[in-house]
């Protein structure tokens, strides 16, 4: 007996022990293939040396959407344990309490030296004093890649790091004046257009922003909690004007318009193709450059890096990127996650990444070691760029951009205005002032939202209870006073049992959610932090401050008004044709019906291919033969909307995208056809024979006999078609994402974006109710106006 007890105790502890140790840590990141391989190897090494721990790496290929998706996962209680984050995206998590502050963990880990990390990035990973991200790499955004061959050609010595820049050319300094170098390295063709540029920046804002921070300009007043945007200040404007002059007037630098429209290339490609002598970006370009510029292969030229010059009237200041890892506060395995963090954002992880040249380590000692700096043991390929030590020196000049997530939101508004500058549509001064005004408004609105009072859910619960009571009253009040026999009571009880699943579902999945979404439509809620009361603010915002609201309504309504009647007509015609007693009717019916069964995603993909301008099915008919034909004169008419002489890009052109989707919707008319066909086949032969005996011709037979009898089927198809069209989502999501511009931004898509990408659940609920009211209204209208529908006496 005792032995059994001991055995049991042993088994239980073993089970519990094993259970405790068998931990899976979820780890999210957004890396390219090369870095991902390295991370996976690191994970394997870690698992080998830490028994009982499994690491599940979840990589998001879509870099831009990564942090929003992660926030959504946190909101849904489905967050990972460790996530890759950086100065530019961690604040929106930290502000909502989603990240574990690391200072306490650091102080309780003996031997952990935070001072070994570059202080600049450590500072940038703090919010209100607490450290939330353990840095892994730092990436100063001021690396100038230079083409040695082009320097040799222009007889300019290679940059030695001593050069400076000023707002005017100083030819007396020769190679120590940045602008003089740019001027020398720009070559013009016989038509006066540049054939070689001095410098191409990785993205348009990089150059002016670097100029600006070097002259001491600030983006906002407080980089963690901004209240005032400073992009309209003279020092910022001057830098942008200067950059615009270099690009639009002197043409030493290509701007975005030139890159995308004229040259149709990107900045790295321009450097690789030797059309630009200098390329300004970050260290992350190195893998791409290494693979494209291999010694011995075609197109190779010798290249190296140097730092962006210092401002002559001051010092060198650079912006920077960087990344690291954080622990999500919902993780049940904080200690294990912290161990993992120290491995991946510590020496092992940094060395592995540094050796591959992918990322500059955030620990100074490692950045100075031969893991990063090429030495005698480094392979030929890994030697590039040789001047790696400069990356360490550059960190001293780094000042991170604002980390606040409010900044990231309003920065998009500014960026839209900045585009005007590069496109040559506006002067820097006015564009920046306008942009700042718009962005400041938005910032003020966002800050105002933070001060809203908290939502009192008690009122909501009370309202919900009232509604439920009203419903119950509606059902049972007429029944009061009715006496029932014992048997009737028993039948009622039995009925209740049969109805129970439906009733529960009604309450939990229909009525409850309806009430909740109604309440939410008056709140500002991201389902992480407590909800805030906004009153009718959401509705007012939709009708006055959200341009996409009316645009999406317009898009959806146009689609519905065109696609539904045309589709209905098509279904009717097909059904009439099929009803003509043709041989093999079931085969035709099947062929017409199957497309409406097709997976919407697969359909969207295949139609994308059909709509392709070159090599697409539709254009191969319209522009037959050989891409220059003119089928039925349609291509000539179409060229009014696109570039004349080119086959029209259906999905890529904002005038034709929506019509393309409408055309695609006609592919699914088979479903309606089957319904109407069934209605047609139900028309008794007897009636038709009788009327033809009375001398009616085909049209009169149709109008008097057939039509009335199929009106129920037509009405049904119409109503369901309308409700369906107003809620189109998948096609827009998969095929166009709402673009180009907003030409296919369907209402459901806008709603989805607001709810699941911006996490504005309250606002999205308001949008849902607006659509609901519209659908309800239209449906009721149709029923009211349905006297044209002929119902035979219902037989029960």
């Amino acid at each position: 007996m005792v032995r059994i007890k001991i055995l049991l105790a042993f088994l239980l502890t073993a089970l519990g022990w094993a259970n405790c140790l068998a931990i899976t840590l979820r780890f999210t990141c957004h890396e390219g293939d090369d870095a991902l391989k390295i991370l996976k190897n690191l994970a394997k090494e870690y698992e080998a040396s830490h028994a009982g721990i499994t690491i599940k790496i979840e990589n998001y290929a879509d870099y831009g959407a990564y942090s929003q998706k992660l926030l959504l996962e946190y909101a849904a209680n489905d967050a990972p344990d460790v996530a890759a984050l950086g100065p530019e995206d961690f604040v929106k998590f930290a502000r909502r309490g989603a990240l574990v502050p690391l200072d306490a963990l650091i102080s309780s880990t003996p031997g952990f030296d935070l001072a070994a990390y570059y202080p600049q990035i450590v500072r940038a990973c703090r919010y209100r004093g607490s450290l939330y991200v353990l840095p892994r790499d730092i990436a100063p955004k001021g690396i100038l890649y230079y083409n040695k061959r082009l320097f040799d050609e222009a007889k300019i010595p290679y940059p030695d790091g001593k050069w400076t820049w000023d707002f005017h050319v100083r030819p007396e300094l020769r190679e120590h004046d940045f602008l003089w170098v740019l001027q020398q390295l720009t070559k013009f063709g016989r038509d006066g257009k540049p054939i070689q540029f001095g410098l191409v920046p990785g993205w348009p804002e990089l150059l002016p922003e670097t100029f600006a921070v070097s002259t001491g300009a600030r983006y906002v007043d407080d980089y963690e909690d901004p209240t005032k945007i400073l992009f309209d200040q003279p020092d910022m404007v001057r830098s942008f004007e200067f950059a615009a002059e270099l690009e639009n007037k002197r043409h030493w630098i290509p701007n975005k318009a030139v890159l995308t429209s004229v040259l149709q290339t990107d900045s790295q490609a321009l450097f690789v193709n030797q059309k630009a002598a200098l390329f300004m970006s970050g260290i992350w370009e190195v893998p791409g450059l290494r693979s494209k510029l291999m010694p011995g292969k075609e197109g190779y030229f010798d290249w190296d890096i140097t730092s962006f010059p210092a401002y002559a009237g001051g010092k060198l200041v650079l912006t920077s990127g960087g990344s690291g890892y954080s622990i999500l506060s919902s993780s049940p395995h904080r200690k294990e996650a912290w161990e993992l963090l120290q491995y991946f954002a510590g020496a092992p992880g940094m060395v592995a990444l540094a050796r591959s040249g992918l990322a500059q380590p955030a620990i100074r000692a490692i950045a100075r070691s031969d893991a990063w700096i090429p030495g005698p043991n480094t392979s030929v390929e890994m030697r590039y760029p040789a001047n790696r030590l400069v990356t360490d020196q550059m960190v001293d000049a780094v000042e991170f951009e604002p980390t606040s997530d409010l900044w990231t939101t309003v920065h998009d508004l500014l960026a839209a205005k900045m585009d005007d500058i590069w496109m040559g549509n506006a002067e820097a001064g006015p564009a920046l002032r306008q942009g700042t005004a718009t962005a400041q408004d938005r910032l003020n609105a966002l800050r105002r939202d933070e001060g809203l009072p908290e939502f009192n859910w008690l009122y909501g619960v009370g309202a919900g209870l009232l509604i439920v009571l009203a419903l119950v009253g509606f059902v049972y009040l007429p029944e009061r006073g009715r006496r029932s026999s014992a048997r009737q009571k028993q039948e009622s009880k039995s009925a209740l049992k049969f109805l129970a699943p439906w009733l529960i579902g009604l309450g939990v999945f229909t009525l409850g959610p309806m009430i909740l979404s109604f309440l939410m439509s008056f709140a500002d809620w991201d389902i992480i932090t407590p909800a805030k009361w906004r009153g009718s603010g959401n509705y007012i915002e939709a009708f006055t401050a959200d341009p996409r609201f009316f645009v999406s309504l317009k898009v959806t309504l146009i689609y519905t008004v065109v696609a539904v009647p045309v589709g209905l007509l098509g279904s009717l015609v097909l059904a009439l044709l099929l009803n003509q007693k043709v041989r093999g009717m079931p085969i035709y019916r099947t062929l017409f019906y199957i497309p409406s069964l097709a997976s919407l995603v697969a359909a969207a993909l295949i139609w994308r291919k059909i709509f392709q301008p070159e090599g697409g099915l539709l254009n191969s008919i319209l522009y037959y033969p050989g891409g220059h034909g003119n089928f039925l004169g349609i291509p000539n008419w179409l060229s009014n909307f696109g570039k004349p002489g080119e086959p029209i890009n259906w999905i890529g052109n904002e005038h034709t995208a929506l019509p393309a989707l409408i055309l695609m919707s006609l592919w699914g008319i088979g479903a309606g056809m089957v319904i109407i066909l069934a209605g047609l086949q139900n028309v008794p032969e007897f009636y038709l024979e009788a009327s033809s005996l009375d001398g009616a011709n085909a049209w009169q037979r149709f109008r008097a006999v057939t039509w009335p009898l199929i009106t129920p089927a037509i009405f049904f198809t119409l109503v369901t078609g309308l409700i369906g069209s107003l809620q189109v989502f998948t096609q827009a999501f998969v095929m166009t994402g709402g673009g180009p511009g907003d030409s296919t931004r369907f209402y459901m898509l806008h709603l989805y974006n607001q709810a699941f990408q911006s996490l504005r659940m309250g606002y999205a609920s308001a949008l849902a109710w607006v659509l609901f009211v519209i659908i309800l209204g239209l449906t009721l209208l149709q029923f009211r106006a349905s006297r044209w529908v002929y119902y035979e006496a219902d037989t029960k």
């Binding site: 489905d78 039995s494 699943p501 579902g505 409850g512 497309p595 697969a602 697409g616 849902a768 659509l771």
Partner: protein, 274 residues
């Protein structure tokens, strides 16, 4: 007469072929090499049909199509089961049993038939968040067991009402309870209606995109629809692979259609004729 008939037949042939051209395109591109796609006309048949694209899709290390298939199958099967059970139960109550408020409850049922999903989508998400059901299959299957869709209840009710009451009454005289009547008499006699509802529910669940999009984050848990979209974001626009993936997603749908063809047509007939 026969000229008219052959003209109609001709028009129908042309139209129906036009309808299936996209499928032809999908299949032919799935069998072509990427080089051939870029260089040949979209109308051409593959010069050297290859199954290489399918192999590449099925062996991709980051997404597993077989897993997507399994997930879609599980979700669809459970949903169908849930709908068949709970919708028929409710339909039985409405069709056969007397209880106070029956007409009014039925009105409520009818009014929920036209409820657009958007008003309940967001709060349902909030509910599932608090239940910690996000990134599981539960949000996609459990609602099927609780009511199964007003439309299905309505359909089955109409059908049940067409079964002669004498059968019920005979059984009741023999002392059968409502439960017995339901399980032993009504359900076995409703094979056609149940098959129709089942087939439609299965297909609807298979084609559902928004539901799995919101509730399934882990690529290992995704269904075919969302999985195909995930695959597309990973491979950019490599048509040969995308088309192979699309064909894989379409095959089950076509198979289900041919197997349950009768019920499709019958179901559409029943719904439209109401």
């Amino acid at each position: 007469m026969s000229i008219r008939r052959s003209l109609i037949a001709f028009v129908l042939m042309v139209l129906s072929l036009a309808m299936v051209v996209p499928f032809f395109l999908m299949l032919s591109m799935a069998l072509k090499t990427p080089h051939e796609i870029d260089t040949s006309s979209p109308w051409s048949l593959p010069a050297h049909p290859t199954l290489e694209n399918f192999r590449a899709v099925l062996t991709n290390p980051n997404v597993s199509f077989p897993l997507f298939f399994k997930n879609s199958l599980m979700v669809a099967l459970f949903s169908t089961l849930g709908v068949l059970l709970s919708a028929s139960m409710a339909a039985f109550a409405f069709a056969r049993l007397q209880f106070p408020g029956r007409e009014r409850w039925f009105m409520i049922l009818l009014s929920t038939m036209m409820l657009p999903g958007i008003v309940t989508m967001i709060p349902a998400f909030v509910l599932f968040k608090y239940l910690h059901w996000v990134d599981t299959f539960l949000p996609l299957t459990v609602p099927a067991f609780l009511g199964g869709g007003a439309f299905n209840i309505f359909l089955l009710r109409q059908f049940f009402m067409g079964i002669p009451r004498e059968i019920d009454e005979a059984a009741c005289l023999d002392g059968a309870s409502n439960s017995t009547v339901f399980w032993r008499l009504i359900m076995p006699n409703s094979g056609a209606a149940l098959a129709t509802v089942g087939v439609f529910t299965f297909i609807a669940s298979w084609r559902d995109f928004l539901g799995p999009l919101i509730y399934l984050n882990d690529p290992d848990k995704q269904t075919l629809e969302v999985g195909l979209q995930t695959y597309r974001t990973l491979t950019n626009e490599q048509w040969h692979l995308l088309m192979a993936g699309s064909v894989l997603v379409m095959i089950p749908l076509i198979v289900i259609f041919f197997v349950g063809q009768r019920y499709f047509i019958k179901g559409l007939v029943m719904t439209g004729g109401k």
